[in-house]
């Protein structure tokens, strides 16, 4: 499709830093028509100034218009596209090749990012924070544990993406087949299931402890507290089965809001 990608042309550190910073605002003007398109142009813009004629030159304007057109991807993995597209523009790749690359990358960058981050890394780190909460950690520990863990993956993925995009250019697609990226969602998924199981009894115990009746704490819990904790855990298991069966018809949070409304009404009416 494209010629061999040699080593990338030099790009000032300042421009790279500007691109990386702008990646964090890549969804700033997200809309249903061009989706992430303007964000791609926004993130790529500092590097496009290196084109002949500089900012405002014909090459710059044509490239910026092209990069601001429709694009869709996971916001973190869009960094791969930004790096690759900037490299292609600065290398002077034919517009048809760049357009084809943009069209081809939308699907893979979206689905991989959704599986890796939204369905993997985010639940994993949230469950680790909830586990810490269930084990008695304080507010600052819980918050910082989640934020640090999550953002090691988040910031690291954006940095990895722009680095590999820049170095791989239009041939960067091969990087997305890396075994770590393909296998990680599988292993994270198993860890998430295990953590979920561990989190449920511990969080239930701590929430009930906040009611002033610490249940299932050896030697301290009252029989009422223990009963409440067991009832909550069994109730959660039964309800989750119902929520799973309702999937496709009612989302869990919608069912939850109805159940809570019923609870509030019952408490007021009785």
């Amino acid at each position: 499709m494209t010629g061999p990608q040699s080593s990338p042309p030099p790009l000032a550190w300042r421009l790279r830093a500007a691109m990386f910073t702008r990646l964090f605002a890549i969804q700033g003007s997200w809309n249903y028509e061009s989706m992430l398109g303007n964000g791609i142009g926004f993130a790529a813009e500092p590097a496009l100034r290196a084109l002949p004629g500089g900012r405002g030159g014909t090459a710059y304007r044509v490239a910026l218009a092209r990069e601001s057109d429709y694009f869709n991807a996971h916001p973190y993995l869009a960094s791969v596209a930004v790096g690759a597209l900037v490299r292609a523009e600065l290398d002077g790749q034919p517009p048809a090749h760049i357009e084809r690359f943009r069209n081809a990358m939308c699907g893979p960058l979206g689905s991989l990012g959704d599986r890796l981050v939204w369905a993997g890394w985010l639940p994993l780190t949230a469950l680790i924070a909830l586990l810490a909460y269930g084990m008695g950690a304080g507010p600052l520990t819980v918050m910082l544990l989640f934020l640090v863990l999550y953002n090691i993956g988040h910031v690291g993925l954006r940095a990895w993406g722009i680095h590999n995009g820049w170095h791989g250019g239009l041939r960067v697609a091969a990087v997305l087949g890396h075994p770590v990226l393909r296998q990680a969602p599988l292993y994270i998924g198993r860890a998430v299931l295990f953590l979920l199981g561990a989190v449920l009894p511990l969080v239930i115990r701590r929430v009930l402890a906040s009611a002033g009746d610490a249940p299932i704490v050896a030697g301290h819990g009252s029989s009422g507290g223990i009963t409440a904790a067991i009832a909550a855990l069994v109730g959660a298991v039964v309800l989750s089965g119902i929520f799973v069966r309702l999937h496709g018809r009612v989302e869990g949070w919608r069912a939850a809001i109805v159940a809570l409304a019923a609870l509030i009404l019952y408490s007021m009416a009785r």
Binding site: F24, A25, S29, Y32, V62, V192, F194, V203, D213, A256
Partner: protein
């Protein structure tokens, strides 16, 4: 604006911005946002409690691209603030705070949909300049969207708190259920929402049932022995 509302509204604005627009470092996750709101309102532990329950609920929805989903960031600020304004644990306070949070999350989802439509209108109006490769148009559109999202989140937090503070007080004055019973039912519902969401994500994996049961056994043993 009443001084008591200023701090949570500013926090809600920043946290609402984090949900999608900038910088998505996940200060908008309920376990962080509600805890911060609790700290601002004077009871960080109450904020964390509301945040943990909402975090379980939020496992249900993934912020996937074009889908419309509840906005848990400002929702958690509202829930954390309401949970923290009570000086001491009060029966029903957590239930009502979480309920207000979910209702705000639902409204927040609609406000994000409206913002995205607005961004689309602005982009369409600026289409000639965008097609001409104007950097002012590209940067301007981005900054306009970011600012609008900040304002959206601030207004949502303000409106939600103005509505929910008196409603919260009214509901709690009539609350009759015991504190432990209220918390038991609430946490069971939240845990069920999380469990069903995670199970749907991971049930296809080999041995999924055993990973879940293994974790459950470990959690129960730890809870009993700790």
């Amino acid at each position: 604006m009443a001084p008591a509302l200023l701090a949570p509204v500013l926090l809600g604005a920043l946290i609402g911005l984090d949900v999608v627009s900038f910088p998505q470092i996940m200060i908008s996750r309920p376990i962080v946002a509600a805890t911060l709101a609790g700290a601002v309102a004077g009871d960080i532990a109450a904020g964390l409690l509301a945040g943990a329950v909402l975090e379980l609920m939020a496992m249900e929805t993934l912020p996937v691209g074009a889908s419309r989903y509840p906005e848990w960031g400002t929702a958690a600020v509202v829930a954390g603030t309401l949970a923290a304004v009570r000086a001491e644990p009060r029966s029903g306070a957590l239930v009502v705070a979480v309920f207000a949070g979910i209702a705000t999350a639902w409204a927040g989802g609609w406000s994000m949909y409206a913002l995205r439509r607005l961004n689309g209108i602005w982009a369409e109006r600026m289409q000639p300049a965008l097609e001409a490769g104007s950097w002012r148009a590209v940067v301007g559109l981005q900054l306009r969207g970011l600012t609008a999202d900040l304002v959206r989140a601030a207004l949502l937090t303000l409106v939600a708190l103005v509505i929910w503070r008196p409603v919260d007080a009214w509901l709690l004055s009539r609350w009759s259920l015991d504190l432990v019973v209220s918390h038991s039912i609430l946490v069971a519902i939240a845990a069920a929402a999380a469990a069903s969401a995670i199970w749907r994500l991971g049930h296809g994996a080999t041995g999924a049932r055993w990973y879940l049961l293994g974790g459950l056994a470990a959690g129960v043993v730890f809870a009993v022995l700790q």
